[in-house]
């Protein structure tokens, strides 16, 4: 792959994410059973199935159309906390991307960053609250740093995915301060946050798709 990422790669990414959350559905629900309400796997699988179904009937020609469609579909098909959060993430990615048909590294990084900012605007999560933020924030920091250091996009995405997984694992000892897990107080410690696990899948599938294309 060269320095740009086309719409088809982005769709492939979304499809890979769909496959990942569908395959990991029971695992995500298991994590949500321990400190939540046992629906995160079902929520993500339902949402990404709806996204891919939507993309089959309408093929957007620009990144903003694509991500706006993904975001709206998630918002209107998922519900719960993850629906508005992932929905806002993609809606903001689209707004930032603009009417382009391909990304360079900087543009992708900016779009992802805008997505994360959207999650924070919606959910007010901070570092260490034990949410998807704790996987996404270090991932995007690592992505930015790698690109700034001249690492090619595929490798930078791999670094970002590693950081997301490290961030996910680091949620284990945390006491949740946001979302449903916060009701458990101290009992939330000792479990991975389900949203950080789905976010790690989001970053890993991005790395996989960029790396293999």
């Amino acid at each position: 792959m060269n320095g740009t990422i086309g719409l088809d790669s982005l769709v492939t990414w979304l499809d890979a994410f769909r496959t990942a959350v569908t395959e990991q559905r029971a695992y995500l629900t298991e994590l949500d059973s321990a400190i939540g309400d046992a629906d995160h796997g079902a929520n993500m699988a339902r949402g990404m199935a709806a996204v891919m179904e939507k993309l089959e009937t309408s093929t957007p020609s620009t990144a903003d159309e694509l991500f706006k469609s993904v975001g709206m579909t998630l918002v209107t098909s998922v519900g719960g906390a993850s629906g508005p959060l992932y929905g806002t993430f993609f809606l903001r990615m689209g707004m930032t991307a603009g009417a382009v048909a391909e990304f360079d590294g900087a543009a992708l990084a900016a779009a992802l960053r805008a997505g994360l900012d959207g999650i924070v605007a919606r959910g007010k999560a901070e570092a260490g609250d034990k949410t998807m933020f704790d996987a996404l924030a270090p991932a995007l920091d690592a992505f930015d740093a790698a690109l700034a250091g001249g690492t090619p996009i595929p490798a930078a995405a791999g670094v970002a995915a590693d950081a997301a997984e490290a961030g996910r694992d680091a949620t284990e000892p945390l006491v949740a301060r946001k979302g449903r897990a916060s009701y458990l107080g101290e009992r939330s410690a000792g479990h991975l946050d389900p949203g950080s696990a789905s976010s790690a899948l989001l970053m890993r599938t991005l790395a996989d798709v960029l790396g293999s294309s």
Binding site: D37, G83, Y183
Partner: protein, 332 residues
Amino acid sequence: MKKLINAPEAVLADALAGVAAAHSDLRVDFANRIIYRATPKADGKVALISGGGSGHEPLHGGFVGTGMLDAACAGEVFTSPTPDQMQEATKVVDRGAGVLHIVKNYTGDVMNFEMAGELAAAESGVEVATIVTNDDVAVQDSTWTAGRRGVGVTVLLEKIVGAAAEEGRDLKAVLALAEKVNGSGRSMGMALTSCTVPAAGKPTFDLPDDMMEIGVGIHGEPGRHRVPLAGAHEIAAQLVEPILADLDFTSGPSIVMLNGMGGSPLIELYLMYGEVAKLLEKAGVKVARTLVGNYITSLDMAGCSVTVLKADDEILKLWDAPVVTGGLRWGA
């Protein structure tokens, strides 16, 4: 998993079909998964909508009808509904006097209703006010966290504020009353067993035969503490004490709900209410009205919750006003 269902994915749609078949005074929008009154209320009156994940029945669909809600939006089991549902319901029920959104305080519910309010205001210009209920004393309150969950008070609020809207109060007054009711009520719940989410296919948590969860919400989530199984008298104390410690209920009359979580038989709920009533009397709480039964449930979870609401003449009058819904009905 043993359930009276066809398939986990079809639970909500199939249950809505049953609601539509059972209640000719309700209208079901299957595409948007909204339950409406078949006969909308009069022009110029404030409308009330609520919504939330399914699995808490009769909440909220069972509270749609004269004197209570105008519509209820149903999400997947334990998953809040999506903004487009609430936006659609808001548009349909508005009689020109604005719409109150009744939201239980859960991150998902709050965010989805928030997006719905933004969309409704932007698109159709309907005036929306929002009350977020947060009465669960099992959760330590803090601005740094998601805050207290909305549980039992939601039922009482939908009844009382529904009566006020039916009277013709304006949106500001309706919202003020909702805030007063929410601020005056506290709840605490417990579970003997987990529930089973159909899509998950197995109990959300394992609870040994000799343990119970104190401080559970209504989503089969584990509670605040796991303690040894105790008798009804001791369980009642563990529910009532944190409620009374959080708010003074001795200055006037109270409305008390002993709510079942869905899997506990009515004989046990009455038995629990007897224990709760004794403790309240000892603490100087005067119970003016009582509800005992399954009103805000957590699928098939065995357990119960207690809600105490400080009332006054206004609230009692609104409480006694006619209500005609599947879940609460009197005076008409």
